[in-house]
Amino acid sequence: MQLTINGSSRTVARAETVEQLLAALELDPRAVVVELNREIVRRPLLAATSIRDGDAVEIVHFVGGG
């Protein structure tokens, strides 16, 4: 499946939900926030939210800033 993740095209295998996508990317769901096609995916819904070919995903976290 082809996704756009953080602006880059990426092929992802074996992920049908956002939770599985984070696992495939080795990301801790508690340390990131996910937007799927510009809609925030609430934490409790990560496992219930499906991803489809062509989806745009943003995965963000907190970094240093003023």
């Binding site: 926030v33 510009r38 963000v60 907190f62 240093g64 003023g66």
Partner: protein
């Protein structure tokens, strides 16, 4: 004690976490500053390498109050989007709202700022609005429901100190919400002078991060903020343009 939007904070010094040369510098400087509120930014995670840029690797959310910002946003819509993402991280409902209007000066787009404030307040955010030192904008932000108004001392990262003490004093006198001066402080005397205007606190980042010795500067800033606050509360003596002797003028030997 400083109260903002119903939450009480132990320190009147709020600090940023950006631009430090090393994470050790950052952690030690923030510790030395005594700050409780630390600002953070929302950015894309790096997928291609072990990513230690995440601030939570270095600062404990149990110890610090994480205040996310919308730095780098040039429209109300972008700032709203970043604020929503930050809130989903689950720490608190506060946001340090920035809507920037110009790349060279990083001065705020006050129309966009007001628009974003209204939207976010309606969504239950506690908005701390970074703004310029214009009284009317500050009043409008308070009317829009901001829990704190954050006028600049001078442009972000400039270290020029407080350019317009009159404007800062006027904003403090006319608004009821806490006034946190944000940006422009360069060294301890700047911070002291800001606090002597009677404002409720200061947020700074580059003054610590870009000092030769950030930990030492953080200590200096902590003392300066306390000193300025104490001096303000003490009430300074009036300025006079003629000397007044402090020793008795009687009892002089002939």
């Amino acid at each position: 004690m400083l109260e903002i939007g119903g939450t009480t904070f132990s320190s009147r010094l709020l600090v940023g976490t950006g631009r430090y040369r090393t994470n050790t510098d950052m952690v030690e400087a923030i510790d030395a500053s005594g700050a409780e509120v630390v600002t953070v930014a929302v950015r894309r995670i790096s997928l291609d390498r072990a990513d230690d840029t995440g601030i939570l690797h270095h600062l404990s959310p149990e110890r610090y109050f994480l205040l996310s910002n919308t730095a780098g946003c040039y429209t109300a819509d972008d700032a709203i989007r970043y604020a929503r993402l930050a809130r989903e991280a689950g720490f608190n409902d506060f946001v340090k709202l920035e809507v920037i209007g110009d790349q060279d000066t990083l001065l705020p787009d006050t129309a966009g700022l007001l628009e974003a404030t209204r939207v976010l307040v309606a969504e239950g955010f506690k908005v701390m609005a970074y703004t310029n030192d214009d009284l009317i904008t500050a009043l409008r932000l308070e009317d829009a429901g901001a829990v704190a108004v954050m006028p600049l001392a001078s442009p972000i990262g400039s270290g020029l100190g407080m350019i317009n003490p009159f404007a800062i004093r006027t904003i403090k006198a006319r608004l009821s919400v806490p006034i946190i001066v944000d940006a422009g402080v360069g060294t301890a005397s700047d911070a002291c002078l800001v606090m002597e205007q009677g404002v409720d606190g200061i947020l700074m980042n580059t003054a610590l991060a870009a000092a030769d010795a950030p930990v030492r500067m953080a200590r200096a800033m902590r003392l300066a903020v306390e000193a300025g606050r104490e001096a303000y509360r003490a009430g300074r003596m009036p300025k006079r343009e003629i000397a007044v002797p402090s020793s008795p003028t009687t009892g002089m030997i002939a």
